[in-house]
């Protein structure tokens, strides 16, 4: 039986690595991938807590509560897919006008 805290610590480590990537990487695509890493870390904590509630609160609360953690993961994935489509389209548009992927060279809203 794995303690719940191990899952939460793994989620925290992945989230912090995502923030670090967001801060130190200069390539706009890699920064976008760091955001995906953070979303994945949050999904992990959602599923871990859903399992935890299924174990500890099934008798008290109705069946909706434990499973809704997984429903949230489903919605997070839908939003992440939509975000990836729009974000990558924006990256392509930025690359077309500036011919660079470095975020330090993209410092003007309008050319």
């Amino acid at each position: 039986m794995v303690p719940l805290s191990w899952y939460l610590i793994l989620g925290a480590i992945l989230f912090c690595l995502g923030i670090l990537g967001f801060l130190i990487k200069r390539n706009i695509i890699t920064i976008f991938m760091s955001i995906e890493l953070m979303l994945n870390a949050v999904n992990l904590t959602f599923v871990a807590f859903a399992n935890y509630w299924n174990e500890h609160a099934a008798a008290v609360i109705s069946k909706i509560v434990p499973l809704s953690g997984q429903i949230f993961v489903f919605f997070v994935m839908v939003v992440a897919a939509a975000e990836a489509a729009v974000g990558l389209a924006i990256i392509i548009a930025v690359f077309r006008t500036r011919e660079t992927l470095n975020v330090d060279r993209v410092n003007l809203l309008k050319l």
Binding site: I19, N27, I29, N51, L67
Partner: protein, 166 residues
């Protein structure tokens, strides 16, 4: 016992892939290490008994989204990352802040370990598709319908943004 060993193996693969994402200079290497992280996370979801989430993690994340990333990297012919001096504040304040945040959360979890309890693998009717589908199409029907509008807007936005302006 087996459960703990499997968790440690997959958790280590997850963290190693995430660190590799930061260390690599070429975006395609970062994308492939992110695929490793997502596959290992899918296995951890299986350990938690969430089969449906594990399946859509592989199909949607490791499949669709990462293919989109790799496709864009190849389309833009992105080379290795160039070194530029960015914001000093982000490096001086951000990195110690992130490390402090990670240590704080980890310490909180470890000190509350006995209170939190454990996670069991063989829970009856936890992550199977039947229950999730019933919940999704009954209690969460309105948000589910709204996501279809969201995806439609995302498709239109991607088409408009990706169009070559003439």
């Amino acid at each position: 016992m087996v459960h703990e060993i499997l968790f440690l193996i997959f958790g280590f693969i997850c963290v190693a892939g995430a660190v590799n994402l930061l260390v690599q200079r070429h975006p395609i290497n970062s994308a492939l290490s992110l695929v490793v992280v997502m596959a290992a996370l899918a296995l951890i979801y299986l350990l938690l008994g969430a089969e449906f989430v594990a399946a859509i993690q592989v199909i949607v994340y490791a499949g669709a989204i990462m293919v989109l990333f790799v496709f864009v990297i190849m389309l833009l012919n992105a080379g290795a990352e160039e070194h530029t001096v960015g914001s000093k504040v982000a490096l001086l304040l951000g990195i110690p802040g992130v490390i402090a945040l990670g240590c704080l959360v980890g310490w909180m979890m470890i000190s509350n370990n006995a209170y939190l309890g454990g996670v069991r693998i063989n829970v009856a009717d936890f992550g199977d598709t039947h229950n999730i589908a019933r919940l999704l199409f009954k209690n969460f029907l309105l948000p589910f319908e709204i996501t279809s509008v969201l995806i439609l807007i995302a498709i239109m936005g991607a088409v408009v943004l990706g169009r070559r302006s003439s």
